[in-house]
Symmetry: C2
Subunit: 110 residues, 2 copies
Amino acid sequence: MAEEMVTFDEFKRMKLVVGTVTSVEPHPNADKLYVMKVNLGGEERQLVAGIKPNYEPQELDGKQVVVVANLQPARLRGIESNGMLLAAQFDDDVVVISPERPVPPGAKVL
Amino acid sequence: MAEEMVTFDEFKRMKLVVGTVTSVEPHPNADKLYVMKVNLGGEERQLVAGIKPNYEPQELDGKQVVVVANLQPARLRGIESNGMLLAAQFDDDVVVISPERPVPPGAKVL
């Protein structure tokens, strides 16, 4: 196996948590991006996600997603993103990752 | 926010991939562990997961899961585990994380 290994301690530095999508708006300056709000339990997070070609807003609203909650903030085309939503990617398709049944928002993923 | 941030480059060191569960057996030496085989596309992986109190084998067989594929191998009660299955955890419950519809095994998650 040529790929580089990571330790469990490195993995644990990532804070992966379940969030419930509460708002999905088109990014004002980018065709493929949404500006989303996600309830992470104690807080609501804004993040920018490049899944507009693959999902309608109403497919995402209310859905539970998995977020990298401690990713360094980034500005994407002028809008701040505080976290990253996880999705499976293959060919040109993107499929959101979810708990297989509803869990409390903010639940840790590990 | 007091928690430690991670960079996108750090996040990308984790190889998160979708796998399809092909086999679930009780661990011979541990009450709470399963020894599972997961098809990651080009290869079948053996991993040990502590979800026996929460899932029957037939609930897992055939399910798609998300695996940290480049985690350093570990021996858990004498059985080698090559990767970690992601699950949401809260109270005493554990809920597996899946793509919201089937994807090709081995699809990257990011």
